[in-house]
């Protein structure tokens, strides 16, 4: 007994000493920028293979693209980055870029047109998750050491948008090849650089990747050879913290400088805290309700009046309230902030809740007393700050008021997605996040491929409009075409757009310069820690 008590005492002592020592070590922490980010979805940091939120963040900061989005409310306006000027041919198929001179990669290797060619061909040929981004590209020619010409198979209005994404970050071809990278036609088998690129970056961006301990932390360091004025912070440590509540505690305590995943409900409780700042940005992520148009799946939902009725039955303001007002209505086609679609436009175009109209439409469709349908959704969080669970229960309650009975079918997210892709669902609630910042990303998914076939939506009129708008290079003409498409989709389409999220990031009060960017979270170049 005495021995046992002795052991207990020793353990307690060790614990206490350890704790105080550990805390002392922490307080002496240096000037690195600490970011808390949920990295559970990250599979790789290779810009030719990654397509996950957190990985985009790393690549956005370690690699440069030819041109960059202006950001803020001008997402589809571009400024020069590694390219100083560019021009498009009249037929919209040829793009010529003049590249910036005297730029060095972090390794010291000079940046030339060959690096551009290598990067884009590798992206296409490695056949990874983002390879399809390079689909429009037919061939790419190195005209001289600082001029590149890209030839597309067909005109594509969003080609420049594709080039601004982190996947198009230009690789240091020489360095990458030394570590097994390949751009050959069989690069999916020949390229062996993935593991090296997971631990190092081969770019020209303001930061350099210094290591990735999975589920633990990613470390970045300032690039000493950066071609512009370099970042203010010397080191960045991005810790994997999957729980939003824990991130909140860490940023309040000062152990973390920037917390990227804190949810709106948690943030609501943080207002008034002088040690932190809340930075809000408009995300492009959407949550939508997809209803099938296939009569063989659900004959009632296949009637377009029924879908219109549902659009008018939903209490959109209520759903926005669920997000603690950290969301806005998403318009029918692409997100607010893109190509001439402002918040005012969205407000004008979007269906309003009107229960009488909904009931009228149901009567017109032959189901005045309502009907039943199953609604599938994934358990877990969504990118718009609330769970699908909360939203579907709200939808269920709303539709009940017009006599429609919704049967909720929760499923683990991966299971739901598999069934959805198998085209068997009558109704789903799912999300959309842009693959690149161009309207054709949404339009493609809604009308041409992806969601449309899953919901059996096959409309020649919509497809024609979509293709015309996507390949149109003149922005004004594009906007007009998209507006026509919106009207068409509101009439017969299978989508009920619910909300488009705002993103709130919490930083310590002494952090300046953080600005939210829809793909890749933010550029850390201008961020300072005082």
């Amino acid at each position: 007994m005495r021995r046992l008590a002795f052991v207990t005492l020793i353990v307690a002592l060790i614990g206490a000493v350890g704790v105080s020592e550990g805390m002392a070590g922490q307080r002496a922490a240096g000037k690195a920028l600490i970011v808390a980010l949920d990295q559970s979805d990250v599979k790789t940091l290779d810009p030719g293979r990654q397509f996950e939120y957190a990985a985009q963040f790393i690549d956005l900061n370690c690699y440069d693209t030819l041109l960059a989005s202006k950001g803020g409310s001008e997402l589809t306006t571009y400024v020069p980055a590694l390219a100083t000027e560019w021009s498009v041919s009249k037929d919209g198929k040829e793009y010529t870029f003049k590249l910036r001179k005297n730029v060095k990669f972090a390794s010291g290797n000079p940046f030339t047109a060959e690096d551009v060619r290598f990067t884009l061909m590798r992206l296409k040929n490695v056949k990874g998750n983002p390879a399809w981004l390079m689909d429009p590209l037919k061939e790419i020619q190195v005209v001289d050491s600082h001029t590149v010409k890209m030839v597309l198979s067909d005109p594509f209005g969003d080609w420049l948008a594709l080039l601004t994404g982190p996947n198009s970050g230009i690789l240091d071809a020489k360095l990458a090849k030394e570590h097994g990278a390949s751009d050959s036609a069989t690069a999916d088998k020949d390229d062996k650089s993935e593991e090296w690129l997971n631990q190092n970056s081969a770019g020209s961006g303001p930061f350099v990747l210094k290591g990735w301990l999975r589920s633990n932390a990613i470390k970045l360091e300032r690039n000493p050879n950066y071609w512009r004025e370099g970042p203010k912070v010397a080191r960045v440590e991005i810790r994997d913290v999957p729980s939003p509540a824990t991130q909140k505690l860490q940023v309040e305590n000062g152990d973390v400088d920037i917390a990227l995943n804190v949810t709106p409900d948690l943030i609501a409780g943080m207002r008034g805290n002088k040690n932190i700042k809340i930075i809000t940005g408009q995300s492009l992520d959407n949550m939508y309700l997809g209803l099938t148009t296939g009569a063989q799946i659900h004959p009632v939902l296949a009637k377009k009046e029924v879908r219109q009725a549902i659009r008018h039955a939903i209490d959109y303001d209520g759903i926005i309230a669920l997000t603690n007002k950290q969301a806005v209505r998403g318009p029918v086609v692409y997100s607010v902030g893109l190509l001439g679609l402002s918040q005012a436009d969205a407000d004008r175009l979007n269906p309003k809740q009107d229960l009488t109209k909904a009931k009228e439409l149901l009567a017109k469709a032959g189901v005045p007393n309502g009907f039943k349908f199953p609604l599938r959704y994934g358990t877990g969080p969504s990118p718009v700050g609330i769970t699908y669970d909360a939203v579907v229960q709200k939808i269920q309650a709303d539709l009940k008021r017009v006599g429609i009975e919704v049967e909720l079918v929760p499923e683990e997210f991966g299971v739901m997605m598999t069934k959805y892709r198998a085209k068997q669902e009558a109704a789903v609630v799912s999300y959309n996040t842009p693959d690149f910042i161009g309207p054709s990303s949404w339009v493609g998914q809604m009308v041409l491929h992806t969601w449309a076939p899953r919901l059996h939506y096959d409309s020649p009129a919509a497809k024609e409009l979509a293709n015309k708008a996507n390949s149109e290079v003149d922005p004004k003409k594009r906007v007009a075409l998209y507006q026509d498409l919106i009207k068409l989709l509101l009439d017969e389409g299978p989508y009920v757009m619910l909300v488009q999220g705002k993103v709130q990031v919490v930083t310590r009060a002494n952090i300046e310069g953080y600005q939210y960017f829809p793909i890749g979270h933010a550029r850390l170049l201008p961020v300072t820690k005082n």
């Binding site: 409900d265 229960q393 709200k394 909720l408 079918v409 929760p410 499923e411 683990e412 299971v415």
Partner: protein, 295 residues
Amino acid sequence: MINTHSLQETRAAEASESEWRRVWERLSRNPTAMSGLVLVLGWVLVALLAPWIAPYDPIEQNVMNRLAPPSPEHWLGVDGLGRDILSRVIYGGRVSLPVAAAVVILAAIFGTLYGGLAGFLGEWPDEVGMRVVDMVLAFPALILAMAIAAALGPSIRNSMLAMLLVWWPPYARLARGQVLALKASDFVAAARSLGLSERRILVRHVLPNAVAPSLVLMAMDFGNAIIITAALSFLGLGAVPPTPEWGAMVAEGRELMQQWWISTFPGLAILTVAIACNFIGDGLRDAMDPRLRLR
């Protein structure tokens, strides 16, 4: 020669019948156990009378008033969709209690019998039996739960099935351990020397004594079982929303620290039921202990 054999048996038979009566007598004289019993019965009553005592409809939403703290209109506050928490707690028992009871009791019965038998038979039935237990223990219950959810659909019955399949091994291990010790003990040797058959020894003498730690585990498992149903709802199993269920309610509030009432009140419900069950379990163990020792 007097047939000591059948005399012994008759005495044993008489003993075991009045046994249980004596257990109950002792139990009823134990104040904590009785208070536990009262508490559990109280919750059962609340769950049964839910439609009459709940102030609001548990699934009625009021999104504009979401996350409101406790107030005179809503004594326990309101959740993320504006539903009254008091009503949801009252109704929640209707799902949480029977599910937890069924899982724990069935798993305990099966596990104890399985483990007791394995330990008693010894040698290779014991070996194989325990390796199977190891395998079930090591099996990722997660996959099982997801497979069941995908194949059979989300429902509270299916989540019970998933839980049952993986809940019994600890009881088996416990029972086997006890039986191993008992097998080597004096009174079993005595019973054998009296010529009692193996089966009789197992059923009448060994098993009842092996049961005590299982009882303790059962009592503590009850609260746990309710909590696991919350984890299962993440996988698409469990009570289909918007049906209220205590475990799922606690889970809903897990990331919301400011709005403590969302997790706390269903948590308290689980806690009181768990404590009550523990008191009962303790009382049972105390009541059974000296009684079952056939001297």
